[in-house]
């Protein structure tokens, strides 16, 4: 029973990882990846690794989404310029 929270966190992480792969549009995938990052932070907390959790929350909540969204914007703008 004490492990219930670990099981819940792991199941949510597995589900969000599957959703991240199944979401084919990069902008929408970035949204799922942001949630995956937070859920990984929870998994690390319940596995008693607050240091790793801090690392994951710092990277996953804002940095990775920002990098991916900037790349998406650049590629789309590139496409628009090419159409002209």
């Amino acid at each position: 029973m004490a492990d219930a929270v670990i099981v819940v966190a792991l199941l949510l992480t597995a589900a969000s990882a599957t959703a991240a792969v199944a979401t084919r549009d990069p902008a929408r995938q970035a949204l799922v990846l942001a949630v995956l990052g937070l859920l990984l932070g929870v998994v690390f907390t319940v596995l008693q690794a607050p240091d790793v959790g801090l690392s994951q929350l710092a990277v996953g909540s804002a940095l990775t989404p920002l990098l991916i969204m900037l790349s998406v914007r650049k590629v789309r703008r590139r496409g628009k310029e090419g159409d002209k």
Binding site: V8, V35, V42, T45
Partner: protein, 150 residues
């Protein structure tokens, strides 16, 4: 397993599951709202877990999330502004419900902690979480109209 961890498990199952479902399916406007909701659900559960494990140092995780979670939502509000025009997500009911849950968790934990430095930290986290959540919702529902740099 104590009551705090049980509460965190329930909050995670219900809120985390709902946020995950919302972010993985449906139109873009629903997905960004769900992403914002994920911050507001996971931050209180981290606080509950810290209390349940009896480790005050775990509170730093919630502090970090309360600071950076809304920043992540602002990133999406900013860089998806073009796609969100015309389909402005407005989920104020959900936003205030989530903020209420966060405030309730923070207040209960404050009552248990008693007046001390830890309580000040909890109150700061609560204020950051709720204001961040509300501002991020505002940004999603049209606060960044007219952002056209590129």
């Amino acid at each position: 397993m104590n009551g705090w961890i049980l509460a965190a498990t329930v909050l995670l199952t219900a809120g985390g599951g709902a946020a995950l479902w919302g972010v993985a399916t449906g139109p873009l406007s629903r997905r960004v709202v769900a992403q914002n909701l994920s911050t507001t659900v996971i931050c209180p559960s981290l606080l509950l877990l810290a209390q349940g494990y009896g480790r005050t140092s775990y509170v730093d995780l919630a502090l970090l999330l309360a600071l950076l979670g809304p920043v992540g939502t602002l990133v999406f509000a900013r860089l998806l502004a073009d796609e969100l025009t015309g389909d402005r997500p407005a989920a104020w009911g959900l936003t205030w419900t989530a903020a209420g849950v966060g405030a309730a968790v923070v207040l209960v934990l404050c009552a248990v902690t008693g007046p001390s430095r830890a309580m000040v930290k909890l109150l700061v986290i609560g204020a950051l979480l709720i204001s961040g959540n509300v501002v991020a919702s505002r940004a999603l529902s049209g606060g960044l109209r007219g952002v056209r740099d590129g």
